[in-house]
């Protein structure tokens, strides 16, 4: 076993280990999302956010354009205040854009879907989305259905 051979195999070993780390960072984790650069933040108030969590995706027509960065309760409005970060490339959203909380699949995670409106002005950093639609709570739906059935 020559020194040269030992050094070569150690070099390969270290390179393999670093390649494994890089693969975990680039291919397995969400590093790609950090690269998107800074975006701008908009707020939205919801009566009920259901199971929405920080880091949930924000989409337009199903395309991911940002993520939820903060969720807190607004004691002045008695509503939940959701802050989302939208990547700077999508700076063309009209001020009357509607934000709705939907569920991906039957058991999937909840996300915010944006539907652009028709205003000329666009949303800027720190703006608030006025039109929102809360998460659908299954129990409420069933309750309403039961009420409808009894009133017939």
């Amino acid at each position: 076993m020559t020194t040269r051979w030992i050094e070569i195999t150690v070099g390969i070993f270290v390179a393999l280990g670093l390649a494994g780390l890089f693969m975990l960072a680039l291919q397995v984790s969400n590093l790609g999302e950090y690269r998107g650069g800074e975006g701008y933040e908009v707020h939205a108030h919801f009566n009920n956010i259901g199971g929405l969590k920080v880091r949930a995706p924000v989409t337009i027509s199903g395309v991911r354009v940002g993520r939820v960065t903060d969720i807190r309760y607004d004691p002045q409005r008695y509503q939940a205040r959701v802050t989302m970060n939208i990547s700077a490339a999508h700076d063309y959203l009209p001020t009357d854009t509607q934000a709705s909380i939907y569920t991906a699949g039957l058991l999937g995670e909840q996300y915010i879907a944006l539907e652009p409106g028709g205003e000329e002005e666009v949303l800027a950093d720190g703006d608030t989305i006025l039109f929102t639609q809360s998460a659908v709570v299954l129990e409420e739906l069933i309750g309403r259905m039961l009420v409808n059935m009894t009133s017939d």
Partner: protein
């Protein structure tokens, strides 16, 4: 009275060993500095500790990933959520199985070899003759082996997790028909670089330190007989496994407990 005496003797013995272990670690860390002047020593040890462990790590990583792919699919398909398989495989590998299984395999493959090697050096009085020649065995023997083990374990754990993700991919996508795109996208959506990958790397660094410390110390501290060496080797594997599993519990509580 006799029982109390034996209990006291035992506890004092444990304390003494712990104290000697920490003094040993301290002297080893001091000996790491001069090692920078002689990187050849380190490379030799990296070869026997790291490169020679590569095969067992890659093969076990592949099989653990494939088993995760199977078991995950069997459970998830009942809920119609087989698409999330990638996230299941990657999260379990990156957070837990990668660092822990690598550390356990490492204790069996490399830790025991380190203990036996140093123990035999002590039993055949090679360490004492080094001291006679004014060669510090800490600098010449202990420090390179310790550092090689500390460096190798995080690298091996990263390789283990990466290969395991591939194994899950072979089974999930290749054999069971999960969509390839959703395997990767679900994985990327749920694995966080800092919360999951970095915490896994930190875990494997801690395990590397503990495994290296135990292996080298048991070798240096063993009774200089053939029986003493064999006992020290067994102790290395057992103590490393226990220490890694206990530390994993604590680290997991610290890292993921507040979620």
């Amino acid at each position: 009275m006799g029982a109390f005496q034996r209990l006291g003797q035992w506890s004092l013995g444990v304390l003494e060993r712990l104290g000697r272990g920490h003094l040993f670690l301290f002297r080893t860390l001091l000996a790491l500095g001069p090692l920078a002047m002689r990187p050849r020593l380190l490379i030799r040890e990296l070869y026997s500790v790291g490169v020679l462990s590569l095969l067992i790590i890659v093969v076990s990583g592949l099989f653990v990933g494939m088993v995760l792919g199977y078991q995950g699919y069997i459970t998830l398909v009942d809920f119609g959520a087989a698409e999330i398989l990638g996230a299941v495989v990657a999260l379990s590998l990156v957070r837990e199985l990668g660092p822990v299984v690598t550390a356990l395999l490492f204790a069996g493959r490399a830790g025991s070899a380190l203990t036996a090697e140093i123990g035999l050096m002590k039993a055949t009085e090679q360490l004492s003759s080094m001291e006679m020649m004014a060669v510090d065995p800490y600098k010449r023997v202990i420090a390179p082996r310790f550092l090689a083990a500390v460096i190798s374990l995080p690298l091996l754990a990263a390789i283990f997790s990466a290969v395991g993700v591939m194994g899950g991919y072979f089974i999930g996508v290749g054999l069971l028909g999960v969509d390839s795109g959703s395997y990767w996208s679900q994985m990327q959506a749920s694995v966080d670089l800092f919360e999951d990958v970095m915490n896994g790397v930190i875990k494997s660094m801690v395990f590397g330190l503990v495994a290296a410390w135990i292996a080298v110390y048991e070798g240096y501290d063993c009774a200089p007989t053939s029986e003493g060496v064999s006992r020290a080797t067994t102790r290395t594997v057992v103590h490393t496994a226990l220490a890694v599993l206990a530390l994993d519990f604590i680290l997991t509580g610290l890292m993921f407990g507040d979620l």
